[in-house]
Symmetry: C2
Subunit: 413 residues, 2 copies
């Protein structure tokens, strides 16, 4: 894409009320726009990153037999009363509104209830199980405060998968597969090294849930990591009992701040019971369905990457998530041959399968272009200037290291 | 995909309160699930159709230089007060809710206001225009009644594009390009023949807006079509004055019921003025930006296709929108060779680039499978049975015509 056509521009300053680094950089780079605290529109550069994250997560969910759906935001009171989660005393972050006829409706903050209701229409026999259903869908959460940029939104896209299994053994096998899929995802987006499988509080059904916690000082969580075993314990379950249970000792653990980038949860019959989601087993006996839920916030993941992979100049996207593979920068010149060469490279790089943001702006100075490119954070910068024209070379700079080298024109691609 | 694994099943009956044919067939086929009137979850088969529609629309919007974004559902009061559209007396289908601090927020029913606000941050010079921005995003409209299935939802995905031009001449050129893009879209989804460019009421800025109206008896609109000129006039502007203006006479026109599947609208300065969205032209003079808006409801389009392309057995998807290219149906048999042959074909068809729904269910009878396949409406059915085994043939049936022929195994792909 030609940068002269892109409707966004970089900005020197983020809005004054924006205190989080992730949103500051993303707003300044033109990736997102702040509508209000915790509510951000996604602009073209941001959407490209979100789509790359989504594609990775979708691949991994399909690989563990997930079937994709899109459930609704608007939710009926009766559905949530079944599980006891309609009341604002139980769930304190509902957004509620009403239909013209006066019926109260809610905006879904999660989807266990409606999906369990849907499955009830299709599951009756052991032949109908197991089933795994997921979506990328907008959640609404009426957070009291929202100061972490896109890491804790009032409106945000979440991937949520729900598993429906015949029994605990079958559930546990899938739970392990989901755990592995999550590890793949965090490796692929470039957070693998600093993301820890973390033991957190379970529910009535299981002793623990598992979170994926990524180390960062801006995280809202405190965890105790065991470097050798690559696991962590959330402070909420940091007790002698749990330590013993996991076979670790206090002196092996280091306290860290972190952000929860994913969580997987054994739900047991918490939802299948009130919804009477049962099946007839091979012996003709009615059995309750065993459920699990598996979440990843797509925007939070983008925000976490920005918090961690950035420097004082801007964002440093990992290759897998960058909005474009290459930032091609033309240094404006009175010599038409510079522009012709940049245009030629733009076409050739795309022919070679690379996505390219081409800074073809004629009114911007070289320094401005370099600063913009560092802020936007595409991994590779290719600089076409008059200086390299005579020698038939361009400069190729790596955003991460700042190192640059001179390459012959015919060797660029 | 193997049908034995798909979590949905066909249903004999739609919910009793569902009176529209589109939702009845889509629910019975397992494409959607009704949460409440006008609110439908999209299930795997439905999502595949929606994604094909989305891909076509996205291609056409990119072809006319659209830049994709995703704006937010939650909307601040102050933004909509600028244009005078916050009041429930002006806009009667708002859903409103509030933040924990008591601030009222709305759920967007359209996005002129927030997008104009965003563009104001990026547009200042003639060099920044024109710009075209679009999204596929969930709209919320608090309809008093909602009885048309997915053709008039309270929550639905809409593609909305907004154009920002320097002057009326530039706007009009783009408006024509958008019109052509819309014609391409309706041709590609199989509604071209019965979709009419329709003159409808304009606004303070232009005499007319243009709707794309598709003929169907369940439509809520009445239009007067001119077959020769392939245009129509919405009854709301069906006056002698307009007829004369368009150079047509009453006796050339036929009254029809129709559904509005798209609309394009010249907005002039209706939004740029209150938002002070202006630019400095080449002569250094401040000028207002001229806007247009261009909408297509993705769910409504799916519903319209189902209303029109269906028979008493079920849906008849056009090739471009079908959830799968081929429905491969194995007639259960005690002879293992039947299943082996079906499995082989399943692999071969996919290798040849066809998407396949493979009805491998062992517990369903042949008649059930045929009825299900007719209801789901994939264009081509390939039937593998014991009968064809000895002769090395399969039966290939066209859903639309019901015609079937026998084809040698090695000629199927």
């Amino acid at each position: 894409m030609k940068q002269s056509q892109l409707f966004t521009k970089t900005r020197k300053e983020a809005p004054k009320d924006e205190t989080s680094k992730n949103a500051q950089l993303l707003i300044r780079g033109g990736f997102i726009h702040k509508e209000m605290a915790g509510v951000y529109s996604i602009l073209p550069l941001g959407l490209r990153v979100m789509e790359r994250i989504t594609a990775i997560v979708r691949e991994e969910m399909n690989a563990i037999e997930g079937q994709e759906v899109t459930l609704t935001a608007l939710q009926e009171k009766a559905v949530w009363e079944k599980s006891g989660r309609w009341s604002d005393d139980v769930v304190d972050n509902w957004f509620k509104t009403e239909l013209k006829n006066g019926s109260e409706v809610g905006l879904a903050f999660t989807h266990e209830e409606p999906l369990t209701g849907i499955l009830k229409e299709y599951v009756s026999s052991y032949r109908d199980l197991p089933r795994y259903v997921y979506q990328f869908q907008t959640k609404f959460r009426n957070e009291l405060r929202s100061k972490s940029g896109i890491m804790r939104g009032r409106e945000f896209i979440m991937k949520d998968l729900y598993s429906f299994s015949k029994n605990i053994a079958e559930h546990e096998i899938y739970y392990e597969r989901a755990k592995q899929a999550y590890i793949h995802i965090f490796n692929r987006v470039g957070l693998g090294d600093i993301t820890y499988l973390t033991f957190a509080s379970g529910g009535s059904f299981s002793k623990y849930s598992h979170e994926f916690q990524t180390l960062t000082d801006v995280g809202e969580d405190t965890i105790y990591i065991h470097e050798g075993k690559k696991l962590a314990i959330n402070e909420e379950v940091y007790t002698d009992d749990v330590l013993e249970n996991l076979g670790v000792t206090k002196d092996e653990l280091v306290q860290k701040k972190s952000v929860e980038v994913g969580n997987i949860f054994s739900l047991g019959t918490q939802f299948s019971e009130p919804f009477e989601l049962t099946y007839t087993d091979e012996a003709g006996i009615q059995q309750p369905v065993i459920m699990g839920s598996y979440g990843i916030g797509i925007g939070r993941l983008m925000g976490t990457v920005v918090e961690i992979l950035s420097d004082d100049k801007g964002i440093i996207w990992p290759e897998a998530l960058a909005p474009f593979d290459v930032h091609l920068i033309e240094i404006p010149s009175k010599n038409d041959a510079v522009h012709a060469k940049a245009e030629r490279l733009y076409v050739e790089l795309q022919k070679a399968g690379k996505s390219v943001l081409f800074d073809d702006r004629i009114e911007a100075r070289a320094g401005e272009k370099f600063a913009d490119a560092d802020l936007i954070g595409i991994p590779i910068h290719i600089i076409v200037s008059e200086r390299g024209l005579a020698d038939g070379v361009v400069e190729i700079k790596t955003r991460k290291t700042g190192e640059s080298k001179t390459v012959q024109d015919n060797e660029v691609v």
